[in-house]
């Protein structure tokens, strides 16, 4: 397979892994966001938590694998983004700390303060990472202040607080609303009674919020945010060297792909349609269809960010030629090919046994079930 094709495939595959993360880890993070509000008693909260008890750990690996794949396929992106967004990454990491211990330790001690503390820990672990990843995507669209020296050492010249600008915060809300909808739709499938009614209401509210904020962000990008264009000739098969190109900031550039490629507009359209469908199916009490709709919405929203910026991954606002693109931020031909092979072999296996695990554990989790299995469930 030639180098150009592999570079494009890896852009798609990183997208697939991020979407997989949003769908899978997203639904248990969304559970965390909703937990303190939809569970009014300890038993109710335990019922909510136990819908994901056997699965959160496997789901979290989507996140870890997406990180590993970015490291392996786009080492410069991994290096530059993680070190540049230092404090944002630390905040996401520390928020994630609350999840494994929150899940496993919460119900091991019968003390209301202890349990309530971990419930809020699960809330933090569910809410903070999606907000931060949304904010990070917002900042990618705006361009990030960094540059490389001759030896390709990157320096980030912005501050943590500069990341929290209005547009990026809006992107953070889009992300949080998307993940919470996903969590609510999942919980609709696995709960009943009062909890079900509460998560259904949440599903409707957050899907609506996602539609409004996503539309707002779209209008903002189309009218108020300059994009980036490569102004030198691009040889997609060249050895990756970001500094070999020239880049300019250009108003409306993030809309170019939608005029250039007819199919591109279907990505945001799918996002809107899927969010609407999620609302319709929630109203109709079709939890399964609502879940699949919000899953498609995750793909549509993440895909929209990717398609708008293509071929850029991480544009530099202070030294545009240092911008990272799908052509010049990538690993070697051999590594990309090898990683593709590994993905093709293992991804179907993962989907297979994950589905089996869900199938085994499927069913409504009730408060009665929790009471009867007090010592063996979370």
């Amino acid at each position: 397979m030639d180098y150009e094709t592999l570079k494009l495939i890896w852009w798609l595959l990183v997208g697939v892994l991020l979407v997989g993360f949003a769908i899978m880890d997203g639904h248990d993070m969304g559970m965390g966001v909703l937990l303190p509000f939809v569970g009014k008693t300890d038993l109710e909260r335990r019922a909510v938590i136990n819908t994901v008890a056997p699965h959160w750990d496997g789901n979290q690996v989507w996140f870890i694998t997406a990180g590993g794949a970015i490291f392996a396929a786009w080492p410069l992106v991994y290096a530059t983004a993680f070190s540049g967004f230092y404090w944002a990454m630390m905040a996401a990491l520390w928020a994630l700390f609350f999840r494994p211990v929150g899940f496993d330790y919460r119900s091991k001690i019968k003390n209301p303060t202890w349990r309530n503390t971990w419930d809020w820990g699960l809330f933090i672990g569910g809410a903070v990472p999606p907000i931060i990843f949304g904010v990070a995507f917002g900042n990618l669209l705006l361009g990030v202040p960094f540059h490389f020296n001759d030896l390709m050492m990157s320096t980030y010249t912005g501050s943590f607080w500069a990341l929290l600008n209005p547009f990026a915060l809006l992107a953070g809300v889009v992300s949080l609303a998307m993940i919470t909808t996903q969590g609510a739709n999942y919980l609709m499938m696995r709960t009943e009674g009062d909890i079900y009614r509460r998560v259904r209401a949440a599903s409707l509210i957050f899907a609506a919020l996602a539609i409004v904020t996503f539309a707002l962000a779209g209008v903002w990008v189309a009218n108020g945010i300059p994009g980036y264009v490569i102004t030198s000739a691009v040889d997609p098969n060249a050895l990756p060297d970001p500094l070999a190109k020239t880049v300019e900031v250009s108003a409306g550039a993030w809309m170019h792909n939608y005029t250039q490629y007819a199919w591109a507009k279907w990505v945001p359209i799918a996002a809107f349609a899927a969010l609407l469908a999620s609302i319709v199916f929630s109203r109709l009490n079709q939890a399964g269809l609502a879940f699949w709709s919000s899953s498609i919405a995750c793909a549509g929203i993440i895909g929209t960010a990717g398609v708008s910026m293509f071929p850029f991954i991480m544009p530099s606002s202070t030294d545009p030629r240092s911008s990272l693109t799908v052509y010049d931020a990538v690993s070697s031909h051999l590594t990309l090919g090898l990683m593709l092979g590994a993905t093709v072999i293992f991804m179907p296996l993962i989907v297979f046994y994950t589905s089996w695990a869900y199938k085994v554990m499927w069913g409504k989790v009730t408060t009665e079930y929790i009471a009867a299995n007090d010592k063996s469930v979370y």
Binding site: H55, A81, M90, S154, Y156, V360, M361, A372
Partner: protein, 530 residues
């Protein structure tokens, strides 16, 4: 600007978080297999006590695993956040095993651990057993890929530097996978994990036996731990010995430092049992040696020589001088790729590029390096001897102590009278923390012993860091120390609570401290139809 303060802080943060993560890894690796053995016994004999054993030790496994997962994410983030240049420079090689680890191993382990805990009522005996096997397999495969990545840092095979992309690029994936260094490390590390878990089970079971409670449960656990522990302790010594240290140059340097061997000795070299290393004078102020032993262990021969520190340093001096040429040529090439004179100069000295980069610690313009700078760089190539010398010796002494303890435990298990041997039970109980100490020292030997490199001979540590300010690292380090302290307190509290409670924590009504009837609902009750 990469100041020494920044580099030291970044290293400190990495060391703190890696050593902390490694408090939880060994127990996971080993306990998973002990659970497999117990559950296999259960499916074959059909005796419920073995199921209770799997569930009880499994619960302690879970408490430990939660922190393993928590602190593992830190490791993945940290290469990017704090070691950005490293990630760029070797990501093409180093990233691949990490990503494959996720795809092949971590998904497996994490998906099946959920079914392990929650699938008892929904899977038949054999299905559940398979789940446990896959979980154990996943955790050990995970260790394999991480150690392949780590082995490459010690012995960077199958890769080449490209001046266009300004990084190392993979040339031979299988050389990286079958790197002898990685293979030796894998066997040694997982065996150490098995020893840790065996001693954990052995020690806690001994405590029950000393208290005279849950005797049947504890006796069976003790026997399994004694058998598995004996095999593991043997493996960790036989397969983890210094034979791994002769495969690459990095390891030869490490070995010379571990042995405080300043001069190249005629083969076979003596093993230094005790010494007071004096790095400044490059000699030991006092030493006690056993002739021939080191040469035999290290080279498996009577005639092969092991280089001493002074000889290694002189070789390195030549490589640093050649490396200067490589760095100078590289900097020209980065400005103009078609500079053919620079190109041929670079090709000639390319192999020593990493050694030239060592001088970047002392001067931006390597071509202006003074003899004093070169001398400093040469001295840098040898890690500090005393901490390595002692870490290694304590680790080895502990290793033999484990072997002795498990031999006796196995011997009396076979004889069947270990319950009477109070001294043995006490020894096992008080020895519980020791494998952790040995494992942490092993990390120190392997990683501290690799200094001044992150990738031996390729990338110096001081160039590997992210270009941050020290204030950033002070802040994040404080955060890690704070979080990790609280988490450790919570974990230890739960671990002790459940270990003290013993199998009664399962609520089956059969164990010490439980009322024969009433009280908690039986946990084995079939799942309510829903």
């Amino acid at each position: 600007m990469l100041t020494e303060e920044l580099v030291d802080l970044s290293r400190l943060q990495f060391a703190v978080t890696a050593l902390y993560h490694f408090l939880f890894v060994p127990l996971t690796l080993g306990l998973a297999f002990i659970l497999v053995i117990m559950e296999l016994t259960y499916v074959i004999t059909d005796r419920p006590i073995y199921k209770d054993m799997v569930r009880f030790w499994g619960r302690l496994f879970g408490i430990n695993f939660a922190l393993g997962v928590t602190t593992g994410i830190t490791m993945e983030f940290q290469f990017g956040t704090n070691w950005a240049y490293y990630s760029h420079y070797v990501g093409d090689i180093f990233g691949a095993p990490l990503a494959i680890e996720g795809l092949m191993a971590f998904f497996l382990e994490s998906t099946f651990i959920g079914l392990f805990f929650f699938g008892w009522d929904r899977l038949n005996k054999w299905q559940h057993f398979m789940v446990t096997v896959l979980m154990a397999l996943g955790s050990n495969l995970s260790a394999l890929w991480i150690l392949i990545a780590n082995g490459w840092m010690q012995n960077p095979v199958g890769a080449e530097f490209s001046f266009v992309t300004m990084r190392m690029e993979m040339t031979d994936f299988w050389a990286i996978v079958f790197n002898p260094d990685a293979q030796a490390k894998f066997v040694h590390t997982v065996s150490a994990g098995y020893v840790t878990a065996s001693l954990f089970v052995l020690g806690i079971s001994s405590w029950y036996l000393l208290k005279g409670r849950d005797l049947d449960f504890a006796r069976r656990s003790f026997r399994i731990a004694a058998g598995f522990g004996f095999a593991s302790a043997l493996s960790v010594i036989v397969l983890g010995d210094e034979s791994g240290y002769t495969v690459g140059e990095a390891q030869q340097t490490k070995m010379a430092a571990i042995e405080a061997m300043w001069e190249t000795e005629p083969a076979p070299a003596a093993f230094t049992l005790f010494a007071l290393p004096n790095q400044k004078a490059e000699r030991n102020d006092y030493e006690l040696q056993i002739p021939y032993v080191l040469g035999l262990i290290g080279t498996r021969s009577l005639t092969k020589e092991l280089p001493g520190i002074k000889e290694i340093k002189e070789k390195n001096r030549a490589r640093i001088e050649s490396g200067i040429q490589a760095v100078v040529a590289l900097e020209k090439l980065r400005k103009n790729r078609d500079d053919w004179a620079a190109r041929s100069q670079f090709d000639l000295h390319k192999a020593d590029l990493g050694f030239g980069l060592l001088l970047k610690k002392y001067t931006v313009d390597v071509s202006q390096a003074t003899p004093e700078m070169i001398q400093k760089a040469v001295d840098d190539t040898i890690p500090k001897v005393a901490p390595l010398f002692w870490s290694f010796r304590i680790m080895v002494a502990l290793g033999f102590a484990f072997l002795l303890l498990f031999s006796l435990a196995l011997f009396y298990s076979v004889k069947g009278n270990f319950i009477e041997k109070k001294w043995l039970l006490r020894w096992a109980f008080w020895f519980i923390p020791m494998p952790w100490i040995a494992a942490e020292l092993g990390w120190v030997v392997a990683e501290y012993g690799r200094q001044p490199w992150t990738i031996y001979g390729v990338l110096p540590t001081h160039l590997s860091v992210s270009n941050l300010t020290p204030a950033n690292i002070y802040g994040s380090l404080a955060g890690f120390v704070g979080f990790y302290t609280v988490l450790l307190v919570v974990e230890m509290y739960l671990m002790t609570k459940y270990a003290r409670q013993g199998p009664a924590s399962l609520g089956t009504g059969k164990y010490h401290g439980e009322k024969a009837s009433g009280g908690a609902l039986p946990a084995d009750a079939p799942a309510q139809k829903i």
